[in-house]
């Protein structure tokens, strides 16, 4: 294994970052709570940039309010602005929850957000306010993936209470990773087919991928309600997804230590083997067999693996994105015979290399080259000259694949240069099937274009 440690003689700039800042991930998670409005404690630009970035991918209205710092605020503290913005956002949106994320500015001046929020549990008329959940997301610490996990944990930390000592039999908490709305819908479908009662957080499957409206929805419909989050404390088990999440830092970990709810940690269920682990676990928890239509889906998938295997073996792929996604794609691509020659992430957990090594399939003896805490500048330098056949990752790798003249199979977030990003399946047998077809056809396309004759059969 070659793990390129990025120790440099001197500090180098980040060129074309392969990560985003922490508050973006938190805002995404808050979009998965019913009736929630997101509020960023910092400069106006933070919320506007993050909105624009999310909107360009999801193509849905995404409102994020800002406490809108001025010079005075930066000197005297953001308390007054935060209080005023909470009052205004509640007045205008009438939310069921306000999700507050901080920024580098409010964190650095040292605003004590919980203390400020303590002073505003009622509105001017004395009526109780909706729950206000705060997550600390200084953008100089971690990445958007950490902001996402942190916000989910903060929601559970603030809201989950066991009302009585009863555990709801067979109720399962689901904590998905940063997957697409289509993935989340599919995940719910799987649980329903298993007849497993569940509560999923976050659930932005409708809020970030909904239909047209006849009247304006201040807050798009869908999402997990505050009371459902409260009841997560009474579940029989939690399932969380994420290869590199640190033990105890997640919502499932918190429910485990606080309420003794067993937490099952799965990586991203991408590829057949990883999906099998999910289905086996659901089967075990529910006592039900794998539902027939999913078993059929798996069989069709394996059949297609066989049909396509000769076009894939030994093809070289560069994978990049969030660490969990990179690990998921590594597992998927290696099981169909593709060689991931470079696995890169801007993520800073430091656990990517060991995670990939643990996912090495039997008989796969290629070296695994990992770039951790990487940017696209480094990915480009490392990828040029490798003879890579394709990139698998978000749309930000396009400038490199264009230069190299190789296809980019777009997965994950963001996909800013195509429609349909929110509708891509990545997980389960269905996601695997979709990706398999796209990856195979991308290579077939190259082969077909390269022939002088333009043959019409494979």
């Amino acid at each position: 294994m070659k793990n390129t440690a990025l120790k440099k003689e001197h500090y180098e700039a980040t060129t074309n970052a392969c990560k985003l800042c922490t508050p973006l991930g938190a805002s995404l998670a808050f979009k998965g709570v019913r009736g929630a409005i997101s509020l960023m404690h910092g400069s106006q630009g933070c919320s506007t940039y993050i909105r624009r970035y999310l909107i360009s991918h999801f193509k849905e209205p995404i409102d994020i309010a800002s406490s809108n710092f001025s010079e005075d605020t930066a000197i005297f503290g953001g308390g007054a602005n935060l209080k005023k913005s909470v009052a205004n956002v509640i007045r205008q949106y009438k939310p069921e929850l306000v999700g507050i994320s901080t920024t580098c500015l409010s964190e650095t001046i040292g605003d004590d957000v919980p203390m400020i929020l303590n002073g505003i549990r009622h509105d001017a008329d004395g009526a109780p306010l909706p729950p206000i959940v705060h997550v600390s997301t200084p953008s100089y610490s971690g990445t958007h993936a950490d902001g996402y996990v942190g916000a989910v944990r903060a929601l559970v930390d603030a809201l989950s209470i066991r009302k009585n000592h009863e555990i709801e039999p067979s109720m399962v908490n689901i904590f998905p990773g940063m997957y697409s709305p289509a993935d989340l819908r599919y995940l719910k479908e799987i649980l329903e087919d298993f007849a497993i009662p569940y509560r999923m957080l976050p659930d932005y499957s409708e809020t970030l991928d909904g239909g047209p409206w006849t009247t304006y929805h201040k807050i798009p419909h869908g999402g997990t309600s505050v009371s459902e989050i409260a009841d997560m404390a009474s579940a029989q088990a939690s399932i969380e997804f994420g290869y590199v999440t640190r033990k105890g830092t997640t919502a499932a970990g918190l429910l485990s230590s606080r309420f003794n709810i067993p937490a099952y940690n799965l990586g991203m269920p991408a590829g057949v083997r990883a999906t099998d682990r999910l289905f086996d676990l659901l089967s075990e928890l529910s006592g039900n067999l794998i539902p027939d239509r999913h078993a059929r889906e798996r069989e069709r998938l394996l059949d297609s693996y066989v049909d396509g295997h000769k076009y894939l073996f030994g093809a070289k792929a560069v994978i990049y994105g969030e660490e969990d996604l990179v690990a998921g794609m590594f597992a998927f691509l290696t099981e169909i015979g593709i060689t991931p020659i470079l696995c890169a992430s801007g993520g800073t957990s430091g656990k990517l290399a060991e995670t990939l090594e643990s996912l090495r399939p039997e008989g796969y003896d290629e070296p695994i080259t990992v770039l951790q805490a990487a940017d696209f500048g480094q990915i480009e330098d490392a990828a040029l000259g490798t003879g890579a056949d394709m990139f698998v990752g978000n749309s930000k790798g396009y400038s490199i694949t264009r230069k190299m003249g190789i296809p980019l199979v777009r997965v994950g977030f963001p996909i800013h240069d195509r429609v349909g990003g929110p509708r891509i399946h990545h997980i389960g047998y269905r996601g695997c099937q979709e990706l398999f077809d796209r990856v195979t056809n991308a290579l077939l396309d190259v082969k077909q274009e390269a022939t002088g004759v333009g043959y019409s059969y494979m």
Partner: protein
């Protein structure tokens, strides 16, 4: 009517023409807790300087500011493309505590060695103002070591609004201006200010001037080069578009170098023709220029006029909402829409001043809503209430329009289609026609619950 109410603090920033006395408040900080469509000081600086293609643009701060502005504008370059890369000092906890000057120094030095830019702009973001890095000192040091201008851009996000960012960008450009040789610049020469070459617009406009016999010394900042900016004080006239961002620079150049300026717009046939005629009139000693301008305008208008009439026959009477960054663009858009037979029922901007809004008031019909620093709820409220067929705005406005079944035209800096000049007017009309006439809207008539309507 909708269920959307207006925040009390916001009421004075909304004007209903014909229904109330004009007393608009503007140029204020955004209301805390409102979802302003504005960005910040950094954004203002970044968009103005972004197209300088042979300069290094290093964002000093944590990663977000640089990540969200990577390759963000459709500003084309005919040569180097250094502007399309995103560089950040990517500050972490350690630097927040101990300061980031050392990191800035090393990052700058290494980037300059690697990319050999003609100048470097260093953007100070929010955090830099708080941790107290002496960005100016680091820039001076690197500049003397590397022998290129290294210019600090004081764009801490919270120190004002986007407009203050324009000012910081103008200040940065101004440090370059006057440092180059003006040898060989003729008397009929101009700088084009406030034109960013989105989709190649600056090239189209430069071509018009070339045909008129007017020399373009520099374009700020579309497809611009450091060398050209340095010698831009040799031009005899500054022609300023997008007045919000560049008017200040023109004023600074007038004061220091005695270069007069005029304000123009290249959106729509009427304003484009006006712009070219105004420039030609300025060089009235050379009557050939006016003659050539008349011929050019006639030729260009003749080329697109028949098509415009076809679009107009369909678009006549349709209703448009406009929400843009600077109000000056809204003036042109209202005229351009009028040329297509359309009326404007909502006009607003992020950064207009009271003079701008008075002009907007005078241009619009009774019943038009004029908005300063609006938010998505207000925009959706009025496009529904005023029955808009078209919304002209940027990425953040697009989903508001689409969700409500209203056509959309992107007139912001991310677009790839040139909308300036005569060809741009054709492109604009075609885009408006295509979105308003699309058959998809007719499918949205069913209620959301899917019940049958007929």
């Amino acid at each position: 009517m909708s269920n959307i109410s207006i925040l009390k603090e916001r009421e004075k920033q909304i004007y209903h023409k014909g229904e109330e006395p004009f007393d608009m408040v503007c140029e204020t900080k955004s209301t805390a807790g409102a979802v302003s469509q504005r960005a910040c000081v950094f954004c203002g600086s970044r968009v103005v300087l972004y197209p300088v293609a042979d300069a290094l643009h290093l964002v000093h701060g944590p990663i977000g500011c640089a990540a969200y502005t990577w390759d963000i504008r459709g500003a084309l370059s005919s040569g180097p493309e250094l502007h399309r890369k995103s560089f950040s000092t990517d500050l972490r906890e350690r630097q927040i505590i101990f300061g980031g000057e050392k990191q800035l120094y090393h990052a700058l030095a290494a980037l300059i060695d690697k990319h050999e830019p003609k100048a470097a702009f260093v953007y100070a973001t929010c955090i830099v103002g708080i941790i107290g890095d002496d960005v100016d000192a680091v820039c001076r040091k690197v500049s003397s070591e590397k022998g290129i201008p290294v210019i600090p851009v004081h764009s801490e996000g919270f120190k004002g609004t986007k407009k203050d960012g324009y000012k910081a960008a103008c200040d940065a450009l101004f440090t370059l201006i006057g440092t180059g040789s003006i040898e060989g610049i003729g008397p009929n020469s101009i700088n084009i200010l406030g034109e960013f070459n989105i989709g190649g617009e600056a090239w189209m406009i430069e071509e018009y001037y070339k045909k008129m016999g007017v020399e373009v010394v520099s374009i700020m900042t579309g497809d611009s080069r450091v060398e050209k900016i340095k010698r831009s004080h040799g031009a005899r006239l500054n022609v300023v578009q997008c007045s919000g961002s560049m008017l200040q620079l023109a004023q600074m150049m007038e004061k220091k170098f005695g270069i007069p300026y005029i304000r123009v717009s290249y959106f729509g046939m009427e304003d484009t023709a006006r712009a070219l005629y105004d420039v030609a009139s300025h060089f009235h000693d050379n009557t050939d220029i006016m003659d050539r301008t008349k011929a050019l305008v006639k030729e260009e208008v003749d080329k697109i006029y028949p098509d415009i009439q076809v679009f107009k026959s369909y678009l006549k009477g349709k209703r448009a909402a406009i929400y843009v960054g600077g109000a000056f663009k809204a003036f042109s858009l209202i005229k351009a829409l009028k040329a297509l037979g359309m009326t404007t029922i909502l006009a607003g901007s992020q950064t207009g001043n009271s003079e701008d809004y008075e002009i907007l008031r005078d241009m619009c019909d009774d019943g038009t809503v004029i908005l300063d620093d609006a938010n998505p709820l207000e925009l959706s409220k009025y496009i529904v209430e005023k029955k808009a067929d078209l919304f002209i705005g940027g990425v953040k406005e697009r989903p508001v329009a689409y969700k409500m079944g209203v056509g959309f035209c992107d007139h912001n800096h991310e677009r790839k289609t040139p909308l300036a000049g005569f060809q741009g007017m054709y492109n604009f009309a075609k885009e408006v026609y295509g979105t308003v006439k699309s058959p998809v809207w007719s499918l949205l008539k069913r209620p959301e619950d899917g019940t049958k309507t007929v």
